[in-house]
Subunit: 147 residues, 2 copies
Amino acid sequence: MSVGHTAVTTPVPDEPVIVCETPQDECGVRDVLDRLGDKWSVYVVVELASGIRRFKELQRAIPGNISQRMLTLTVRRLERDGLVARTVYPTIPPQVEYELTEMGHSLTHLVKTLADWSIAHRPAIAASRAAWDAAATEPTTEPATAP
Amino acid sequence: MSVGHTAVTTPVPDEPVIVCETPQDECGVRDVLDRLGDKWSVYVVVELASGIRRFKELQRAIPGNISQRMLTLTVRRLERDGLVARTVYPTIPPQVEYELTEMGHSLTHLVKTLADWSIAHRPAIAASRAAWDAAATEPTTEPATAP
DNA sequence: CAGGATCCCATCGGATACTG
DNA sequence: CAGTATCCGATGGGATCCTG
């Protein structure tokens, strides 16, 4: 079917109509990515999704050995954006608890979507990379099986 | 209710059970973010979601004036990951077309999810930031209406 | 314990300039 | 047109030291 049809611009199957209406507009996608695209924010959200955590608890729970500096910065930004709530108990030693706000919790669905996609396509991506890197290494395009 | 109950760890409402099973594991979320979290990848995907594009077309369509250098780097990485297909027509001047692969198209749903969340919560985030910044500016915490 | 202040390096990304 | 190569400033993020 469709042999020589004119509208071949979009040979796409379904498509969710994608995002933008106005071209040259960033549609808001950057907004989220600027917030979660950094090295640690997602981990904080994921960990806090399980419940309230203290500073040290967070630091220990997050994979990759986050420095206290980065944890502070990350958690502050999330707090500023209203995604994380911070409660200080003026005790000695001090105790500070972090938890997701309602809006913060709404992020977890989104994070799950990201993770699901990633896990589903990880093998394919790895294969593609391997093929690409192999092609970049070997000189000839054809399987010449050299001498 | 729950006055002194022990299992107060998760006062959460619903939650999609979130992502990780194994703690200290990055669950794959980083994978996607390392791929889309950079400055331009999402724009390329969004633009290519509408159909095939040539290099210059892409560059012009993407908001924010991407440099040819970054467009090349971005598009190459996407190609290496198997998200974008590149077709070269050895003409003079050269013509190169880019399009999403099937896997690339599967990204659009995910991008839409991101955009939807962003647009939905943008006002709340802006308000939170405004409040935060205001609190950071004024010295006293209470509405003392100073002298 | 929580986190502010510094120092310092690695990477990202922009601006040309040059080629096939 | 579609890149590649270089230079270079801005930013991200780690390590360390210090305080309430």
